[in-house]
């Protein structure tokens, strides 16, 4: 056709060419227009298709969101469950949440950020930033002020909700009220703190052990022994104890393990860090842990170094006292022997002087020799008395049944009783459990004291007794010269004699006092000068 056209063109005139050109132009324009219409139509079609696609996607998204809500790992109908948008506006709540918060998002507008307690605001804002970044949160804490103005501590596990394009559009969360848990936890920790204060400030060292192993120790024990808790843990019980003590406590621990005993107390020595030893009373109690089934021991350690030192000192003192007592007794015997010997010599010489020279001596000389003998005699008595007094408490006490009636009989047989004096037992006297020699000494001194101080024509000495639950009470009554009140205490002191009687040495009643002290008794007297004296004394049964 182009060829034909060219042929024609060759033959056509200019007019014809111009017409043809115009027609061609028209044709071009028409085609362009048609193309434009087509394009518009197809564009429309495309738009429609796209629109359809978008709404389809929206639908899918919606399904996705719903399934997200449902699939949330933490859905639990018992715990409060909340869905909110990213501005914290609550979208939905389950029944439990409604009850907990006191709000109903269907009826009122609830924004969770407005419920957060001021204390938690900053922390929660930061936390939400993390949530947006990571998508989930675990055990996120908050303090909320609920509708009823109550403040609750809550723990929230939650996650973001995304649309189809993975854009976060909301958040869901399960809320757990941990207010009570926290209170309990707080209480426990407070109690633990209190216990710790007691343990740490206890004047007793406290150590928790499992056999040889030291698990815990308090400051007091660390201070006592000089090791730190860490050092103690690596050392163990045996390393800080002496071998003898280890043996003893091992035996006791075994008994404890077998359940034969629950606790024991021993006095033992600990090896301190500085090389010294610590004397301590250690009380060990078993503690069975139900959780791990292990027997623990709680040891209370009391520093008794001071007591121990005192005890040692006391023992030493007692030993010294015993020694010095024995020495004193020995000394008393030696002195009495050394004093008695010359008296015997003087007595012998005076006797011979009289025997050999009685022919040349006048009455005065004989009298002087007699007086000399009397003085020697009273001095001998004094020495015997002192010896007796000094040995009353130091000699061993040998308690047997002692029939006091028998004792009185023996005494009245040997002591000097003036003819005008009568010794009478008012009623049968008891049998005592006591040292016979000392009871003898006791009554002999009372009786010889009584019989020599009677100036009445008829002298009477009555011995009687009564009985209390704890003591025997004896009385020795005489109708002698009597003792003035001011001497009632004095006469029991050594070398104190009231009368001017040559026979009294002033020792007798002090021996009496010593024997009565030995038997935890008392001695006293009632006396009317010129009428008589009654001595009372008690002896513990």
């Amino acid at each position: 056709m182009v060829l034909k056209f060219n042929l024609m063109f060759g033959k056509m005139d200019n007019k014809e060419v111009l017409l043809l050109k115009k027609a061609l132009e028209r044709q071009k324009k028409a085609r362009f227009k048609a193309e434009q219409i087509l394009e518009n139509k197809s564009k429309e079609l495309y738009e429609v298709a796209r629109h359809l696609e978008a709404s389809n996607a929206r639908l899918e998204n919606l399904i996705c969101t719903k399934s997200n809500e449902i699939d949330g790992a933490f859905v639990n109908i018992i715990d409060p469950y909340v869905v909110m948008d990213l501005q914290f506006n609550v979208i939905s709540m389950n029944a439990s949440a409604k009850e907990f918060f006191g709000y109903n998002p269907g009826e009122e507008f609830v924004n969770l950020s407005q419920l957060v307690h001021p204390d938690y605001l900053d922390y929660n804002v930061n936390y939400m930033k993390n949530l947006l970044q990571y998508g989930t949160f675990n055990k996120y804490r908050s303090k909320l002020i609920l509708k009823d103005k109550s403040v609750k501590l809550v723990e929230i596990n939650g996650s973001l909700i995304y649309d189809r394009d993975k854009n976060p559009i909301a958040a869901q969360g399960i809320v757990r009220d941990i207010t009570r848990d926290e209170e309990v936890k707080h209480l426990l920790s407070a109690q633990k703190k209190q216990l710790d204060i007691i343990v740490e400030n206890s004047p007793l060292g406290i150590v928790l052990t499992n056999g040889n192993q030291i698990i815990r120790s308090n400051k007091t024990f660390e201070n006592l022994i000089g090791y730190t808790e860490l050092e103690l843990k690596s050392l163990g019980v045996n390393a800080i104890s002496t071998p003898d003590d280890v043996e003893e406590s091992t035996t006791l621990l075994k008994k404890m393990q077998l359940g034969e005993i629950d606790n024991f107390t021993i006095s033992k020595q600990y090896n301190c860090k500085d090389g010294t030893h610590l004397w301590a009373k250690t009380s060990v109690n078993v503690y069975k842990n139900e959780d791990d089934g292990i027997d623990y021991q709680v040891a209370m350690i009391e520093d008794i170094s001071a007591q121990h030192e005192l005890e040692v000192e006391r023992k030493q003192l007692l030993e010294d006292l015993e020694k010095s007592n024995k020495g004193l007794q020995e000394y008393a015997h030696i002195v009495s022997h050394d004093l008695k010997s010359p008296l015997r010599s003087i007595s012998a010489l005076a006797t011979w002087l009289y025997e050999d020279y009685k022919d040349v001596l006048d009455e005065n000389g004989v009298n002087q020799l007699r007086m000399m003998q009397e003085k020697v005699e009273s001095m001998d008595k004094l020495i015997v008395g002192i010896l007796e007094y000094s040995t009353v408490s130091s000699e061993t006490v040998n308690n047997t049944d002692v029939d006091v009636n028998q004792v009185i009989k023996e005494i009245t047989d040997i002591i000097y009783i003036p003819d005008h004096v009568q010794v009478k037992i008012v009623k049968k006297l008891p049998t005592l459990f006591a040292d016979k020699t000392k009871i003898h000494q006791l009554f002999q001194n009372f009786l010889s004291n009584a019989v020599v101080h009677i100036e009445n024509e008829v002298g009477l000495v009555n011995i009687d007794f009564t009985e209390t639950t704890t003591h025997w009470q004896f009385s020795i009554e005489d109708n002698g010269v009597g003792i003035p009140k001011e001497y009632h205490e004095k006469i029991f002191k050594i070398f104190q004699s009231v009368g001017n009687n040559e026979r009294s040495t002033g020792i007798g009643l002090s021996i009496v006092k010593k024997v009565i002290d030995l038997y935890e008794g008392e001695v006293w007297l009632e006396s009317v000068p010129g009428e008589g004296t009654t001595f009372y004394f008690t002896l513990k049964k």
Binding site: H333, R344, A348
Partner: protein
């Protein structure tokens, strides 16, 4: 009787001699001032005494020390030994009997009492059969 009298005090010796001199029977008294002297005498060639009168409190060698030596000797341990002392110490008395004695006589204060006691002791031993040397 041959009597060994062991005593450090002069007047005590005078007391014994005076007492013995008054007795009908005659006794031969050998004096020793202390245990040591007594041992020396016993170990000498002299005849052994029939009885020994022994004081306890003496210088150098006490009566008890003497007694211990005496009782360890195979021959001398048979010599009857009578203690003559002022010591009423029970410990002394028990110790003496434990080692072995034939009597324990306390010296009384009065000379007359002394004379009587010694007379009785010597009378008693005179009536006994003695191990003659």
């Amino acid at each position: 009787m041959n009597i060994l009298f062991i005593e450090d005090d002069t007047i005590e010796t005078m007391k014994l001699l005076r007492t013995v001199s008054k007795l009908e029977s005659k006794h031969n008294i050998t004096e020793a001032k202390n245990g040591e002297e007594a041992i020396n005498f016993l170990k000498s060639d002299a005849d052994l005494p029939d009885i020994i009168l022994l004081d306890l409190n003496m210088p150098k060698m006490s009566g008890i020390e003497f007694l211990q030596i005496l009782k360890k000797d195979d021959v001398m341990k048979y010599l009857p030994t009578i203690i003559l002392t002022t010591s009423e110490n029970r410990a002394d008395l028990l110790e003496c009997y434990k080692i072995g004695i034939a009597g324990y006589v306390l010296k009384p204060l009065k000379y007359d009492d002394y004379e009587q006691k010694i007379r009785k002791v010597l009378d008693y031993w005179e009536t006994n059969e003695l191990v003659k040397a």
